[in-house]
């Protein structure tokens, strides 16, 4: 099947193309060079006057794993009020804040997204996470495996095992859980919660293991780098949501010593303690630190107003925040002594001082970070807002007067505490394409995605230019996934199944001897069952695995 896409205005930062009119050719799912004149084109789309970008990539969104299901059970009213009826092509489902798996796939695709990554795959729950993501149609997916509060690693650190042993354990876990990256959530804090610590500073020791978050971050970031994993250590830092945590975050940035590190939902880690309410914006300081430290990348975790539900592995902080639950119900738990989970419904309100300032802080960070390749567009779905709010967020970034109109409606004290009104920057289409496509693909380490260049997989989103960017990004004209047309005029017309992106770093097989003993003694699962085989993802015929290259290793 040879498809010709004629005359669209192409924004492809990965190939350095910024708004040039081009004709693209797709053969069997991938972009190819212009074929010889006598080759017959099977299907031609006239895209004159349309905007072409690669399929968007959400590099941090909670779409698979146990806490999503807990969130769904916790807010049945959210699901009842938002039913999705079946059609001849799509299945039924429901849910606004935390949609069902099928609805997640359709809604993402309808906004022009073709790939999404679950950032909190707990190794012991990885099978469930992959099976749930296997039920998300159209999208490619992948996961970052959650480490840093697991007893095995903390035991290794207490026993002063060398970096090589830790690298082997990290690589073994990534392979066992089929991950593409490594995430750490509140390093060691989830574990410390079990020993009655209710907060853990960067240099505070875990009461039982005597290990500090800083040490955990350093060994894991080193392991990720030495294994050649392209996605830097994905860090949800200490003290999420605590006023004054901007200093912790700056300290984390300095303390990593130049190693590559990705700071996730950084908006929640950028709070000062100034002003009458002892809560202020650290957005400018954080943005400056990101600008000055080229090893640091960040996604924002923008909050947007309305009902949502926060679902996090950080049960220490979720426990601390449960008093703000709206509606008033919440869940916190330990999971297999490996990590935790906290689910708390939230309603962000523009007339609430803290919420309003959080909103402004997120936008400040977006607009003050100079390099669009090192900042990413997320709401930390569903924590800051459901992913369906992305078109609105894009408009806030691209349209200064709209942003200032919105700013004028929020809590007046919050308006005084933010410099947002004085920031003139407006994102261009090319920069949005970097944030949501090329940059994300590069960060996660996807070899042939996020680009419209020759050889890349043909994930394409086609928009009609519209000065109202919200309308423009809400409803793409066409979305192609691997060269197949899946969405027309913002509606799914065809479904297919995406692949699961992984990496396979190497390790010394002898590590399993000690793990075997540990599992026999402490875990509910045997090592053999813990490891996910390739077949489990591919055997039903609709899933597949795509292995990406490692840095310095072919």
């Amino acid at each position: 099947m040879l498809i010709k896409l004629t005359g669209g205005t192409v924004y492809d930062p990965a190939s350095g193309i910024d708004g040039q009119i081009k004709t693209l050719y797709v053969q069997d799912g991938r972009f190819i060079k212009q074929p010889a004149a006598d080759v017959q084109v099977d299907k031609e789309y006239d895209l004159k006057g349309k905007v072409l970008m690669a399929g968007a990539i959400d590099m941090h969104t909670h779409i698979g794993g146990g806490k999503g299901n807990i969130a769904r059970m916790l807010i049945p009213e959210d699901h009842r009020s938002d039913p999705v009826h079946r059609s001849d092509i799509t299945r039924s489902g429901c849910g606004h804040a935390m949609p069902s798996s099928f609805a997640t796939g359709y809604r993402y695709a309808e906004m022009g997204y073709t790939t999404a990554f679950e950032p909190a795959v707990l190794p012991v729950n990885a099978r469930q996470a992959h099976m749930e993501m296997a039920d998300i149609p159209i999208l490619d997916k992948g996961g970052y495996v959650l480490m840093g509060s697991d007893d095995y690693l903390l035991r290794m650190l207490t026993a002063k095992k060398d970096q090589k042993a830790i690298n082997d354990y990290v690589a073994w876990t990534m392979n066992a859980a089929k991950a593409i990256g490594v995430k750490v959530v509140n390093p060691g804090g989830i574990n410390a919660f079990k020993f009655n610590q209710r907060k853990l500073e960067l240099d505070e020791q875990n009461a039982h293991y005597g290990v500090s978050p800083r040490e955990i971050l350093q060994v894991l970031a080193t392991a990720v780098k030495e294994l050649g994993v392209k996605h830097p250590l994905h860090v949800h830092g200490c003290n999420l949501g605590v006023p004054g945590n901007v200093s912790t975050t700056l300290d984390t940035i300095q303390g990593i010593g130049g190693l590559p590190m990705h700071l996730t939902h950084i908006q929640f880690h950028s709070y000062g303690t100034e002003g009458d309410f002892k809560f202020s914006s650290g957005g400018a300081q954080i943005a400056e630190a990101i600008n000055n430290n080229k090893n640091i990348t960040a996604d924002v975790g923008q909050i947007l107003f309305g009902q949502t539900i926060t679902a996090s592995g950080d049960n220490m902080r979720q426990h601390a925040n449960h008093g703000f639950a709206n509606p008033d119900k919440w869940v916190c738990m330990d999971i297999e002594c490996d990590a935790g989970c906290g689910v708390v419904p939230f309603k962000y309100r523009d007339q609430n001082f803290v919420n309003a300032l959080q909103w402004a802080i997120g936008l400040e960070i977006f607009l003050l970070v100079d390099d669009p390749w090192r900042v990413f567009l997320t709401t930390d779905h569903p924590n800051g807002a459901p992913f369906t709010t992305y078109p609105h967020l894009i408009r806030l970034l691209m349209d200064k007067s709209f942003r200032n109109d919105m700013l004028a409606t929020i809590h007046p004290e919050a308006q005084k505490m933010t410099t947002l009104g004085s920031i003139d920057r407006e994102y261009s289409l090319q920069e949005i394409a970097i944030l949501t496509r090329a940059g994300a693909a590069k960060l996660v380490g996807l070899d042939d995605r996020g680009s419209l260049g020759e050889g890349a997989w043909a994930d394409i989103t086609v928009y009609t230019e519209n000065t109202d960017r919200e309308q423009m990004f809400e409803k793409p004209d066409y979305v192609f996934k691997d060269g197949e047309l899946v969405v027309v005029d913002g509606k799914v017309v065809h479904t297919k199944w995406g692949t699961t992106h992984i990496v396979r770093p190497e390790w010394d097989t002898s590590v399993e001897q000690d793990l075997q003993k540990y599992f026999e003694r402490f875990m509910t699962m045997k090592v053999g069952n813990f490891k996910i085989s390739d077949d489990e993802i591919t055997e039903d015929g609709r899933g597949s695995l795509t292995t990406h290259s490692l840095n310095g290793i072919a």
Partner: protein, 270 residues
Amino acid sequence: MSALTFTVKQATQQRVDVSPLVCHLLKDMTLADITAIELQNGKRKIRVDELFEVSGSDSQNIVFRKSFAKLDFIGKELEAGSMVVHGDAGAYFGIGMKSGKLTMEGDVGLYAACEMKNGLLTINGNAGDFLGAALPGNKQGMKGGTVLVKGNVGQRAGDHMRRGTMLIEGDAGDYCGARMIAGTIAVMGNTGQFLGYAMQRGTLLLWKAPQLSATFNDCGSHTLAFLPILFKSFSKFDSKFAEQSVAFNRVQRYGGDMAEKGRAEVLVKL
């Protein structure tokens, strides 16, 4: 004006959601508009005039005739006016009712008066399980108004009930008043096992001695001055509860459920 009457032509195989046929939604609609409404019937849609013979014009006074047990959501969120149903009804009868009067001549299914807010809901026949309860996963059931049942009710009547009055002339099933937050349930007939299971506050008023779990404490016999006032408030109903002969003011009082807040009471006629 005569009552707007929906007479069932033929019972359907699949369940029907008749929630659009309530007084406040039909207020300004012509008869032609009403007959053209499409109701969800299983996975298909069915027009009102395919299912019902429609007559009359007073949309604030609705009557269902030959109703059958697959008509769900009758009187959903009723805001005003009066509705009378002859025959039987399915699940969610009077769900979220806000005001007005809703009367059932026959039996109703699960979740009648579910999360009801106000108004008077009368069931002359029997009610199914979860009368006045919360929807699965929700935290609060009935929040106000009065439910009067002349027959028996199923299990878990008043589950998570928050406020309001439930008057039951017949028997109540197991778990009556389970997880009740507040409000009053009066049962003239027998009650089943696990009465008031995990009840926080509220009152269960009984004519017959119940089977109580060990987490209820006997607080002795009392003469309560509020009871005659409460019974007087029932005198406006067309019910046995309005009769002088059923009233009493001398009770055995039990406190519980001590496994919960323990501020609820079970009052049994002496």
